[in-house]
Each structure stands twice: as structure tokens, then as C-alpha cells.
């Protein structure tokens, strides 16, 4: 699969993105990396330009909920991107524990999965999408 990997708008963290690129490439995926601090507009432009099979957003600075919500809402406003699988991983807030209400709002906005830091879940999510691509 072709995966667009991106940091969120206010998040400068880089090691998560360096690591995820290697991890995803080792799963056999092609990775387009947008780098850290990617605003929603850049994400939309990247998706339209590269036509990825899935988007992986990674946020660790404690603004994952706000930034992730803005990014997903903006993506879903674009008709061509309405069905693009989007997964958000990392930390949602500054509290250090998962807020289920935040997860619910992200899901309502069109985020297909909110994964925390569980890489097995990311692997499984992408594997399930990859299987769907193969015609039966």
C-alpha cells in the first residue's frame, strides 16, 4: 500500500516519524512522509497529489485531539478524500491517559481508527485495508 505519513499541525516531534517510516517500509508499504508540523491544508494537498491508500497521523505533543480533529474534518470536506482510510496514533492530550470522549469525537469526524501507541494495532489496521484491496 502507499501510505502518507505525517505529523500533526502543532507537533514538532520527529523521531516518531523517522521510526514509523522504517516500520511501515518493513511491512512492505510505500511511504510518503510529510514531516512534522504539517497543517491540515498541506495534508489535503499531499493526499490529492500522491493519492495514498491510507493516511497515518502521528502526534505526541499533547495536542493530538485538537490537531487530529482539525485534520480529519478538513480531509473529509474534500469529496475525493471522503473514503480515504485515516488513522491517528500517539497521544491525544496532556493527561497521559486515553479520553474516550475524545476518541468518540474523532471517530464521528471520520477518523477510521484512534490507536494510541500500539504498533500491532497499526499493523493489523493496515493489513485489513490491504486485504480489501485485493479483488476476491
Amino acid at each position: 500500500m502507499k501510505i502518507l505519513l505525517s505529523g500533526t499541525a502543532s507537533d514538532s516531534h520527529t523521531w516518531n516519524l523517522v521510526y514509523l517510516r522504517l516500520f511501515l517500509e518493513e511491512q512492505g508499504h510505500e511511504v510518503i512522509g510529510l514531516g512534522p508540523c504539517a497543517p491540515a491544508e498541506l495534508l489535503v494537498a499531499g493526499c490529492l497529489r500522491h493519492a495514498p491508500d491510507a493516511v497515518v497521523l502521528s502526534s505526541v505533543n499533547g495536542h493530538g485531539y485538537r490537531d487530529g480533529l482539525a485534520a480529519v474534518r478538513r480531509l473529509r470536506e474534500v469529496p475525493a478524500l471522503a473514503g480515504l482510510p485515516v488513522v491517528l496514533g500517539g497521544k491525544l492530550g496532556v493527561a497521559g491517559h486515553r479520553q474516550e470522549a475524545d476518541v468518540a469525537r474523532l471517530t464521528e469526524a471520520g477518523c477510521d481508527a484512534v490507536l494510541g501507541e500500539d504498533l500491532d494495532a497499526l499493523r493489523a489496521f493496515l493489513a485489513a485495508r490491504a486485504r480489501k484491496e485485493v479483488p476476491a
Binding site: 499541525a9 502543532s10 507537533d11 514538532s12 520527529t14 523521531w15 516519524l17 523517522v18 521510526y19 522504517l22 516500520f23 518493513e26 512522509g33 514531516g35 512534522p36 508540523c37 504539517a38 505533543n61 499533547g62 495536542h63 485538537r66 497521544k91 492530550g93 496532556v94 493527561a95 497521559g96
Partner: protein, 438 residues
């Protein structure tokens, strides 16, 4: 130190503390709510330690999205720092009132490649100390083009140097000793710190600090800090006050309380024996979330106690500062200075030609051809140096990094300090021999 003891402001406070033989310890601390921010500063001031205060700015303000910062304040959302440009100056003055004075300087920490709004806000609130740099707050921290960051930082330096209140000596710390926090060999960290402080001096600052972040090997770190002292003396003008500031490990932090505490104590001892004037601490919560005020106070007191037990600082911290790190850093500095007499042109030119190249940095203006690795003895070395005028280590593994190899290298320090063997005693500053390459 070249500064007179009576110099006012942040630099003068650190100079006076060094004369008195006391390490200044400082937290990273920022809360969106002014009441919590004030409480944090009050607790920092009251800690059993020689402290300076910190206002860490939130990430929306850092990336220049002041509208998002204001919206979060209006909604009462929790931010990851103090939105200094979203609150009116009177609010920040009230946060500082009765706390910020000659005995308790306060520094604004942020991470912005376009710091003008932050510098305006901090000077409007009566503050005059901050940190960052045209390279260190641009390349590893976002996507602002380097040329724009350099221009913005030049203006911010001039603004800070000229608009502080009468009698003040504004202070600016380079973040160049951190870059991505880990897997960057010390020669480049030292070079960027010196180059940024030289940049600050050229744009009007008369008091600066040079940073270095604790890495994987205590002996290599000590060598790097001595090289930093020596190069600062060689390259910075004599009339510019300066000190060295050490950051407790900025990479993946130990998860256990014991491991985290040991690493912090090792950094405090390193600061003392290498002549640093100030230490910015990490807490036992670092691996898990943004620390509380309580955790920060405990970290400040732990670091201060470890520093007090470390014995006297070296009589001359530039001694033995002419080893491998010194030579590498000096070559990088001289190469950059030789490109153009104006540093605001030399720095972007150096990156454009790959003469400076930050390992693993994803910024479009970084060449991205260099890589660092942890050698079997635990020292940080160059696997690849790209077009930089320095040589890679001959023992480097030429194989491309794997995700598992990268993860192991990133966790090298945390794993060492979390391991029961390390906790059981012995010399905690000595690394165990763990063969790792990236």
C-alpha cells in the same frame, strides 16, 4: 567568565551563582492557565535549590498559530504550555508579580522558528531572557524555511537587545546543543551552539548561553563541554557575557523512577565537573507525560543535591578541551564562517551545501545525508557525514538502519538506566558495553 560579578539580569545571576559555587537548576514548565503557571513559578522559587524560573510556551504559539492559542484559552482547553502572546501583558505581569526579581530570574522557553510575537510579548511583560536560535528552532522543529527563520531570528535578537527595560541585560540561550535530542555526535552540537551564540552577538545580544544536551557517554560529554567552553572563548567577543547550560538527557527517558533519577543525578554531576553554570532538568514523569509542578520541584531538588555532593568545579573548564570533539566542532565552525562574513547568509549556505547536516532531521533545507550511531563502548559517532568537512567513523556499520535498530539506539540510555544491574550500584556514570548500531 568574562562578565563582571555585578552584571544584572539572567546572565549576571548565573555568573554570581558560579562565583558562589552553586549550580543554577531550572525546570521545563508551562501551563495554559495563569493561576497554575504562577503556582508553578512560586513552587520553583521556593524549592530547596538555587533555581531560575521557566515559562514554557504552548505549541500553538510556537508555530505562530495565535488564533488557535486564543481559541483554546477562550474554550478553557488545556494547553501544553503558557500562551504568552494570547494572554495580555498585564496577565503575564500578574503571573510574575512578587516572584520574578534579581534573586529569581525567569526565562521564556518556546521552540519557535518565528519568535517575534513571543519576544514582543515577553518584553511587554517585563521579561528579558529567552532561548532558541535560527537553526536549532527551525530545522528539527518544523517546516519554516531556514532563510525565513534566520531573518526572523535576526529581527528578534535586535528587538530583544533594544526593547528590554532600562538597565536590563537581555539574555539569549542557544538551543543548538540539542538539535534532535539524540543520535547527533557532539561535534555538530557544539558547533551549532557556538555559531548561534555568535549570531546572537552579531545581532546585538551582550549576554548569551551555550547549550549542550547530555548524550550517551559521560566521558564524551565532558570532553564536549570542555570543547564548548574553549570554542566560546576563542570565537565569542570578550565583552559578551556567557555561560554553558547543560540539558539533562533529551532523548527517550528511563521509564522507572530509579532510572530517571539516576540519569538526572548523572547530569548534575556532569554539569559540575565540566564547569556548566546551569542545568535544565528532567523529571521521573518524562517518559510518560508532561510533568506536574510537584515532579518538577522534586527533580530540581534532586539535581541540586547531586550537584552539591559532586565536589568543586574544575579550576579551568577549557583544560583538555582540544580532543576529537573540539577539532570536529572547530572545523565545522571555521567552514561556516568562511562562507560569508554575514552569519545570516553563511548559515543557510552551509545547509544548502550540506556542510552542516543534522542526522535524521526531515526538514527540506537539511541535506539528510548524515547519520549517527552508538558505538559498542557507548560513544556517539558518525556513521555517515555526507558533505560535511569531517570524516565518518571507520568502524561504522554501512547497512541501512532498521526500525528495530533505530529503536534500540533511541532506547540505549533509557534501557541502561532502567536495567536492574544499573540500579544495583557501582559507578552510575559508566556506560555498560552494549553493542548497537543504527
Amino acid at each position: 567568565m568574562t562578565a563582571p560579578a555585578a552584571l544584572p539580569g539572567f546572565g549576571g545571576f548565573v555568573a554570581a551563582s558560579m562565583t558562589a559555587g552553586r549550580l543554577v537548576v531550572q525546570p521545563r514548565m508551562g501551563f495554559g492557565d495563569p493561576g497554575r503557571m504562577r503556582a508553578g513559578l512560586a513552587r520553583t522559587r521556593a524549592a530547596t535549590a538555587h533555581t531560575a524560573g521557566t515559562l514554557t510556551v504552548d505549541s500553538y504559539t510556537r508555530v505562530g498559530d495565535l488564533a488557535a492559542a486564543r481559541a483554546a484559552v477562550a474554550e478553557g482547553s488545556r494547553l501544553n504550555g503558557y500562551p504568552i502572546a494570547a494572554h495580555p501583558p498585564a496577565t503575564t505581569r500578574a503571573v510574575l508579580d512578587g516572584l520574578f526579581d534579581a534573586d529569581f530570574p525567569v526565562q521564556v522557553r518556546h521552540g519557535s522558528a518565528r519568535p517575534l510575537a513571543i519576544v514582543r510579548a515577553l518584553t511587554a511583560a517585563g521579561l528579558d531572557a529567552t532561548e532558541g536560535g535560527p537553526v536549532s528552532y527551525c530545522l528539527p522543529y518544523g517546516r519554516t524555511p531556514l532563510r525565513e527563520s534566520v531573518t526572523a531570528w535576526a529581527r528578534a535578537c535586535e528587538l530583544l537587545a533594544t526593547t528590554a527595560r532600562p538597565g536590563a541585560v537581555p539574555h539569549l540561550e542557544s538551543f543548538g546543543g540539542c538539535l534532535l535530542g539524540q543520535l547527533c555526535p557532539p561535534g555538530l552540537l557544539v558547533a551549532v551552539s557556538v555559531l548561534e551564540c555568535l549570531f546572537f552577538a552579531r545581532f546585538g545580544l551582550r549576554s548569551v548561553s551555550l547549550s549542550y544536551a547530555q548524550q550517551t557517554d559521560p566521558a564524551q560529554d565532558e570532553e564536549a563541554l570542555r570543547a564548548l567552553h574553549r570554542l566560546a572563548a576563542e570565537f565569542l567577543p570578550d565583552d559578551v557575557d556567557r555561560h554553558v547550560v547543560l540539558y539533562t538527557y533529551m532523548g527517550v527517558y528511563p521509564r522507572t523512577a530509579q532510572g530517571a533519577t539516576r540519569l538526572l543525578e548523572a547530569s548534575a554531576r556532569l554539569a559540575v565537573r565540566s564547569g556548566a553554570g546551569r542545568l535544565i532538568v528532567k523529571t521521573t514523569a518524562e517518559a510518560h507525560r508532561i510533568p506536574t509542578v510537584e515532579e518538577n520541584v522534586r527533580a530540581l531538588e534532586t539535581a541540586a543535591a547531586a550537584a552539591a555532593l559532586a565536589g568543586p568545579p574544575p579550576p579551568d573548564p577549557t583544560d583538555e578541551g582540544d580532543g576529537e570533539v573540539y577539532r570536529e566542532a572547530r572545523t565545522l565552525i571555521e567552514t561556516v564562517l568562511g562562507l560569508h562574513p554575514d552569519l545570516s547568509r553563511a548559515l543557510p549556505a552551509a545547509f544548502a551545501r550540506g556542510l552542516l547536516d543534522v542526522p535524521f532531521c526531515l526538514h527540506p533545507d537539511n541535506a539528510g545525508r548524515s547519520a549517527g550511531f552508538v558505538d559498542p563502548r557507548g560513544r556517539l559517532r558518525w556513521a555517515r557525514t555526507g558533505a560535511m568537512p569531517i570524516r565518518p567513523d571507520t568502524a561504522a556499520d554501512a547497512a541501512p538502519p532498521t526500525s528495530a535498530g533505530l529503536l534500540a539506539a533511541l532506547h540505549h540510555v533509557a534501557d541502561r538506566y532502567d536495567s536492574p544491574r544499573h540500579r544495583d550500584g557501582g559507578d552510575h556514570d559508566r556506560p555498560q558495553a552494549t553493542p548497537l548500531t543504527v
